[in-house]
């Protein structure tokens, strides 16, 4: 176990190193940070002086070594745009993103497991078919479109005048399909509760939760259908296996067969995919956070790109690399718990 964790730690360091080299290598293509810091009419001589002060004129290797030296001591440089150490900028934006990912994950888990299991048990029922149909649509709609639709329907409101409003039934149908809006369409709201240090939470107040709903649903929208389909497919396969047939023949209650014996084996591949997907979700937060002006890491990263804020871009990429390593490690640990035959150290069982 300890050997495994040490190995993963080495892994993380290697990942950070490779990312930092790559990020540094492409920095010339990210744009000119000085251009973003000065007014358009500022003469070239002033720009040159700033470039010199920031050390942007030094050769690649000199810049990299200087960065690496500081990074080893935990100093990842100074964000040009936020005028703060890059790491503390990231630390400040991290909680918002984690809460968003947490809420989306919760939505995915709560809905995908029952729906997936149900449509595996009753594949021919109309409800299952409906779920499968909707999930195909869900997979195909890009996340920003989902977000904008949600904003239109639940934040701005839609007035339907499709049916004749003069008739009773028409008016009723019109109002049935119209929505009021009223859901917040941007930001985290003003009722945040400070938990500790940098961490202000949306989860403690009603208003905070309301702000979380639309972003979390749109972030979940891309993964939820995927997991429903995955769980359904795995479950159907497991239900065909010998041990399930045996359990049924033995007369164990169906509920127990489905939810204890079959589900456990269904979850193994789901956890593997899930671990990778949570990492991917961090990437999708960039889109979601932009549309909802959610002040998390995704929005911060986009700002950093727009301002060619190279220290922040490099640090963000390295931190995301670490998040991937950490989630994979956690997935492997959980895997070991669910299926004791898996050995973490990679030796044959």
């Amino acid at each position: 176990m300890i050997a495994f964790l040490i190995k993963r730690l080495m892994h993380a360091i290697l990942v950070m190193f490779v990312i930092s080299v790559l990020a540094f290598a492409i920095q010339d293509n990210l744009g000119d940070p000085v251009q973003q810091m000065v007014g358009q009419s500022v003469p070239e001589s002033e720009r040159e002086a700033i470039r010199e002060r920031l050390g942007l004129n030094d050769p690649f290797l000199v810049q990299y070594v200087r960065f690496a030296k500081n990074a080893v001591q935990g100093d990842f440089g100074y964000s040009y745009f936020y005028r703060e150490p890059a790491l503390s900028v990231i630390a400040r934006h991290l909680p918002a993103t984690l809460e968003l990912v947490f809420a989306a994950t919760l939505i995915i888990v709560v809905f995908s497991v029952p729906i997936g299991v149900y449509s595996a048990i009753k594949p021919r029922s109309p409800i299952s078919r409906l779920f499968m149909g909707v999930s195909i649509i869900g997979i195909s709609i890009p996340v920003f479109l989902t977000a904008i639709l949600l904003i239109q329907i639940f934040a701005i409101g839609v007035t339907v005048t499709l049916f004749p409003g003069t008739t009773g039934w028409g008016a009723w149908l019109n109002s049935f399909f119209s929505t009021q809006g009223n859901m917040p369409s941007f930001g985290r709201g003003y009722d945040l509760v400070n938990v500790a240090g940098n961490w202000d939470t949306n989860l403690a107040t009603w208003n905070g939760l309301k702000h979380l709903v639309l972003p979390a649903v749109s972030l979940a929208s891309i993964m939820l259908p995927l997991f429903i389909r995955l769980i359904r497919a795995e479950m159907m396969e497991v239900l065909q296996s010998e041990y399930v047939k045996y359990a049924r023949a033995k007369g164990i209650s169906m509920r127990r067969v489905y939810f204890v014996h079959a589900l456990k084996n269904t979850m193994l591949p789901v956890i593997t995919v899930g671990g990778v997907q949570i990492g991917t979700m961090v990437a999708y937060t960039i889109l979601t956070e932009t549309v909802f002006q959610w002040p998390g890491m995704g929005l911060m990263f986009l700002d950093a790109i727009n301002h060619a804020d190279i220290p922040l871009i490099v640090s963000y990429l390295m931190i995301v690399g670490v998040i991937f390593v950490v989630t994979n490690t956690i997935v492997d640990l959980i895997y070991g718990l669910v299926n004791p035959t898996v050995k973490l150290t990679g030796k044959p069982a």
Partner: protein
Amino acid sequence: MTLKKTVLASVIGAVFAGTTLMPLTAGAETLRIGYSADPETLDIHEQLSGGMLRFSHLSFDPLVRWTKDFDFEPRLATEWEQVDETTMRMTLREGVTFHSGNEFTAKDVVWTIERLKESPDYRAIFEPVASAEAVDDYTVEIVTAEPYPLLLNLATYIFPMDSEFYTGETDDGNDKTEIVKAGNSFASRNASGTGPFIITNRRQGVRVDFERFEDYWDTESEGNVSNIVLTPIAENASRVAALLSGGVDFIDAVPPNDLDRVRDADGVNLIEIDGTRIIGFQMNEERVEAFQDVRVRQAIDLAINQEGIADRLMRGFATPAGQFSPEGYSGHNPDLVPRYDLERAQELMAEAGYEDGFTIDMIAPNNRYVNDAQIAQAVANMLAQININVNLRTMPLAQYWPEYDTRESDMAMLGWHSDTEDTANFFQYLSFCIDTETGVGQYNYGNYCNEEIDALVTQADSETDLERRNEMLREAEAMLYEDVGFIMLHWQNLAYASAEGIDAEPVVNAIDFPYLGDLVINRSED
């Protein structure tokens, strides 16, 4: 610390832990703003940008400010007179206090002008100013090296800072006065001005809170906004949605695609203003020999349908241009209008011997100006009709400027706003013969050079008789129109939108700095 606290002597008691709900007193009006960007820093001399100037008008006051019709309105300066050719004497307003409680006097103005002359962003603009001197507590004399007609234009950039507040050393031994680009200076974290609003809480990129300054001098202003919450919302669609859903009361930069939607929506008002930013193309005469022929330049100008672009592509959200300076600027020449004529363009190409045309590269940004990439595409198609084949490359802003600076393309798109709100500035940056010593022609992409025009504009710039100066600049515009030193397209309009009851129309202007101190909110009770 999650919050950047603005430590002000007068509001030290206001402690913000975590985030707070705004306390609302009776009759107080809170304005929730969704701007496309928030101020980059609190140091108003650190960066010359639209966001910073908007902030300057909130927490500071200029000596004079522009009215909607480009006249000067007295603010901290109440009167001014030209004493001799190079000296202007300004009388300052009495009884004005800074947010810190310090009294505003002439020494603050002198101190601010001296600091402006140290700022990398403002130094060049304040080059003409030789010195400033406090005659007494409420009189200041500004001396220019040469006779300079635009001193009042510059005075709109002088937002007196609290010299006492910004003098001394911080706890860690830094000079409070220093201007540090993208650094962590005292002035970038703390502010004390005379303006209508005090910053109480700021999280960069997330939100900025303002509270009305109780001792604000302008008691005649009808403005009744007591608190402002500014949320930067960069994404156009999200900003519009935030207004339509009632999440914010006032937004800037409504995108052309959403104009109709906002216009038709209930409970929301759209405010359109003719803007002052010229959008156009520059031809690189260094790289393409044909561009040195005035007939080819004219042909290109004639082949481009400015009206069509403004009408269809911009959906009326632009004013077609035939010159640099928009209406209202001194130097605007009403005779110079777009002159689309494809047949004549083809004839000119034939006369110049380029009947079969040629192939050029073109670059344009895709996230800087309204519909920039589409405009470039349209221009490329129009040029195809006079047999100029265009290879167009568009790129995001962060990559565009470095690419532009290399000057390795044949045509490039540029938008320009005159920092002095005056015609000469356009010429000096965009069409003057390049002179690296004086810095003129810094954005003259194509190395266009017409010494006659340059001489005329230079002469105009030391002409203190404003009517004569005006004549000269009109003449310069006409000469450039004939010689086609710059392909003019249009002035990009501005659009704000506000919720019902927010009377924003009187406080917004073509310069794009809403005077929110004077904003009146009159929400109907229901």
